[in-house]
Every structure is written in C-alpha cells, then in structure tokens.
C-alpha cells in the first residue's frame, strides 16, 4: 500500500507535517512499515481540500485532528 501525503505550500500550512508525523508514528506502532510506504508529493491539484492524501489511487481529505481516525479507517483496516 502506498500512502502519499501532499507537502506543497497549501497543504503545509493546513498541517501536512502533523499528518505525516501522526501517520509515521501509527505505522510504526502498528508494525506496518513493511506493508505501508509513506511518501510525499508537492501538489495534487486539489489545494482547497487539503491536507490531500492518496491511498494508492483513492483520494482523501485529512486534517491533523482526523489523521488518527483516517489511519484506522483507511490504512489499518485495508492493508
């Protein structure tokens, strides 16, 4: 599974660093580092909906507050 978080300017000011840090932590806590590849990208062209996250080809809009829930629902549950 490949999880791509947008780290472009617009998402950055909406908290993409916190999203990345939360996901990094949870992936490691759940021993999923082998199965989940976390990557960055500089724009997904959907700046209004940031923080933009792709899980494989599916798009999600995530906030720093919803990152943990997003992990449970869309990463841990599907991996």
């Amino acid at each position: 599974m490949k999880v791509t978080v947008c780290i472009g300017s617009s998402c950055h000011v909406k908290g993409s660093r916190q999203v990345v840090e939360t996901l990094q932590q949870l992936i490691s806590d759940n021993n999923l580092s082998e199965k989940v590849e976390l990557a960055g990208t500089f724009c997904m062209g959907k700046c209004q909906q940031g923080v933009c996250v792709n899980v494989d080809d599916d798009f999600y809009s995530v906030t720093p507050d919803s990152a943990a829930y997003f992990f449970e629902e869309n990463i841990k549950a599907k991996v």
């Binding site: 780290i7 000011v13 840090e21 960055g40």
Partner: protein, 475 residues
C-alpha cells in the same frame, strides 16, 4: 507599467527583447519574426540609444541571440556583445584639465615611481611607462584633478577576468570568470549579458500540455521576497501558475536541508566553507584550488531541493528562478544537471509574465510556504551562518562555531587568502560573491536598502519556525 520595475534602462532594454522573443515563442511565431524583432523595439529613423537606428538594430539582433541561448561555442553563460561595447576610456590614471599647475606638487612627492612630470605651464603629466596605478597622486591632489579612467566592467569584476582585446572591446577570461554577473549589471551600455534559457522554459511548459505529460515545477529563491514589490508575493506565485507551472516550491526548503546537513559536516570536519553560492565555489576552483577539499560537499539548496522533487516525481521538470546568473552555470555542472532543467532570473520572469500579458497585480493570492525562517534568510548576508548555528543547536551538536560571513567576492578572497596561509580566525566561511548576499544578485529587478528588511520579514512569516520542523516533512 507606471511602476518602476527595474534599476536601470539597460535592464529595461534587455527585458523588452526577452519579452518580444518570449511572446513569439508562446505563439510559435518566433522563426517568422526573428528578423523583425529589432525593428519592433527600435522603430522609425531617429536613434534613441546609439549613433543610428541601424547600429541599434544590429545590437538588438545580438541581444535576440542572447535570449536564444547565446554563442553555443562559448561555454561561459556570461558573454560580451562586441558591437555593443562602447570601448570606454581605459587609460588608467590621468591628469585632467582641472590641474592648476600649483606649486606644492604633492602628486610628484607622493609618487614613488617618479612618474609625474611637469610641462612649461607647470601642469602635471603621468608617464604611463612608469605608473603602476597605485592611485596615491589622485588621493593627494587638492583639486581632485587626477582621475582613474577604468572601465565600469573592469571595475565591477573583482576577480579581474575582464581585459581589453585588440579591437578595444571588453573580453572575458573564462578561466577566471565566476559568472557572478557584476559586469552585466554594471556595464552602462549593456554590452555584457547573461545567456537566457527562457526558450527552454517555454518549450518545457508547452510540451507538458498543461502538466499532463509531465509536471513543471518552479523553485523560487527566497530573495523573491524583495522583488516584484509592486505586487503581493502570493500574486507572484499565482502568476507562475498562470504561466503554466504546475506548482511552486521555496528554494529555502532546500536551504533548510543544507543547513542541517552542513552543520553536521562542519562538526565532523572542523572546518568548512559554504557551497551554496556557485560563484564563490567557482572562485575557489579557479583561484584557490588547494582549498577545494574544504568546500562543503552538500549540493546547493537549489540542487538539493530539485533532487528531492525528482525523488517524489521522476518525470518532473524543474526550473529554478532566482537573482543569480551563476546558477545558470551551476545547472550545467555534471553533479547538478540531472536535477535542474533550467535556470532563469527575476528579470526574465518579469519578461515572461508580460509576454503572456499576465498582470500579477490583478491576480488572487496563492500560498508559498515550505521552509523555515532560517532557510529563508539564506537570501541575505549572514543568514547562512545563522542557519548553521541553528542547525548545530537543534541537533545538539557540540561545536564552537566561529563563522565569518564574507560580503562580496573581495571579502571572500581575503578570507580564503588567510585560510590558505593558516591565519584565518574562523572555522566556517560563508562565501557570498555578491555584496549583501543573493539580494545583491545581478538578476534582481531592483537592488535597494530595503531588500534585507524584506527578506527578514518574509523569514519571520514562515509557518515553520525551526529547521528540523521544516525538513521533518521530507523524511
């Protein structure tokens, strides 16, 4: 165009040529109109710049060639337009008619070479075969009657790469030139200029088919905060996307990466010079090759960030936009070529906007926020040293930093000279070839007192406050 966008009329002329060529390039009409561009810019029969319109147009043709990449056989990105060189007086020290034929003869007394003689009217003359251009006579003359006739280009070139050729035009010694562009900015006739690669940029954008085939990324140097001051920075960024760039990223994020890595490297090695300024690095290569091992092995912020972008998107095309002519040469280095596809200056960006009639003052504001305060202040002298100090602190590295920030290539030379003799009281050299740092770059639209304050203000506005937070996102 009510707002003054450039420091000089030479820049404005250069801009007009860039804009015309770019306009045709966007419309695929460049080949058909190549020969008519000079007349478009210098119409009519009355000359406004030179002796006649024909000479003006001949020079403009040469300028068009420079916009199209210049002389391919000359590897230097800085090139002299021979016919534009006005062959300025270059006689060195001369006595002018202000000499009153006084009794004191201080000039004669101070001259250690006995080069001063007097005619029957007691007026001083300088014997060129004896004069060593020390300038003492000019200093002591109470009538300031002795002046130094030096060409502005030679005066600007502190690395002494400019000489005068057999045709009395300026000639650049490529083995000494560091591409800093000081001569480009200082030549009052615009006879020395930097080659442009904007046609490559336009081609890249067009062939991307709205960033569908591949994406074109713009990296902007932090000194952009002191430029385009007639608009808001957010509008400058929006304008880049209007031109067709996929997205815009701060070179300052690359600077954060460099600051972190460079502070580690410094602590390991005990002594380092910076590697961010390509003109400074080129100067070490040409004038102090023995010191090359002491240059930081980090890529420059531009190259480091471009490399990272291509890691996230292997088909990406990356264009760096900054104040610097030397970056154009850096992008041609084997170590940088794979990462950076083209380099352009702020001057060229202004022309690009206007070639597409993008009036940035009418646009909405976009966001530019990737880096920390420390990455952003790389744009001005001392910022790099501050960032390395911060990098050491944040990573809890025990190292007694003693930095020297060199303001312009002459100060760089002094520090390097001392280092080569082992008498430099510092363990880190921040080398900035331009006075003031990057904000003094030849590719800036304007150079002014306020620019440093603008950069600092922009630094304080950064969303991330520390280097580690800014780079955390990249891991």
């Amino acid at each position: 165009m009510g707002v003054r966008k450039f420091d000089t009329k030479v820049q404005h002329l250069k801009y007009k040529v860039l804009r015309e060529v770019a306009r045709h390039a966007w419309n695929d009409t460049l080949l058909d109109n190549l020969l008519s561009i000079p007349e478009t810019i210098a119409p009519g029969k009355t000359p406004t710049m030179r002796c006649c319109v024909y000479k003006e147009r001949a020079i403009l043709s040469e300028r068009v060639k420079m916009v199209m990449g210049g002389d391919k056989d000359n590897p230097n990105v800085i090139q002299v337009i021979d016919i534009a060189c006005d062959e300025c007086p270059s006689a060195g020290y001369e006595v002018t008619d202000s000499c009153r034929g006084c009794l004191a003869h201080r000039c004669e007394d101070v001259c250690k070479r006995g080069a001063i003689t007097f005619d029957q009217n007691h007026v001083a003359h300088i014997d060129k075969s004896k004069c060593v251009e020390c300038g003492q006579c000019a200093k002591v003359c109470p009538f300031t009657a002795i002046i130094n006739r030096k060409r502005p280009c030679q005066n600007a070139c502190k690395v002494k790469a400019i000489s005068i050729n057999e045709d009395n035009a300026a000639a650049i010694d490529n083995s000494k030139c560091i591409q800093c562009g000081a001569c480009v900015y200082q030549c009052p006739f615009g006879a020395i200029t930097d080659k442009s690669y904007i046609l490559d940029v336009i081609d890249m954008i067009k062939k991307s088919e709205n960033n569908q085939k591949y994406k074109v990324y713009a990296i902007v140097a932090p000194s952009i905060s002191s430029q385009f001051v007639y608009a808001k920075l957010g509008q400058v960024i929006k304008g880049l996307k209007e031109l067709g760039f996929f997205t815009v990223i701060e070179a300052a994020l690359g600077a954060d990466m460099v600051a972190q890595a460079e502070s580690q490297e410094l602590a390991e090695k005990g002594f380092l010079t910076s590697s961010c300024c390509p003109a400074f690095v080129q100067y070490i290569k040409s004038a102090f090759p023995d010191l090359l091992p002491l240059v930081s092995h980090n890529l420059s912020p531009m190259a480091a960030l471009a490399q990272y972008i291509k890691k996230t998107d292997k088909d990406a095309k990356v264009v760096f936009i900054g104040p610097c002519t030397a970056k154009k040469a850096e992008a041609q280095l084997e170590s940088v070529k794979p990462h950076v596809d083209a380099v352009m200056t702020f001057e060229e960006l202004q022309a690009l906007y206007d070639s597409k009639d993008v009036d940035i003052t009418t646009l909405g504001e976009d966001v530019l926020d990737n880096a920390s305060y420390f990455g952003r202040i790389f744009a001005r002298l001392g910022g790099l040293s501050d960032a390395v100090a911060q990098g050491l602190k944040e990573q809890n590295i025990e190292f007694d930093l003693k930095a020297i920030a060199c303001d312009g290539i002459e100060e760089c030379r002094m520090a390097l000279l001392k280092k080569s003799k082992n008498v430099l009281d510092a363990n880190f050299i921040e080398g900035m070839a331009c006075v003031g740092g990057c904000i003094g770059g030849a590719g800036c639209l304007t150079h002014g007192e306020k620019n440093k304050a603008e950069v600092d203000k922009y630094g304080r506005e950064a969303f991330e406050k520390t280097i580690s937070d800014a780079v955390a996102i990249l891991k």
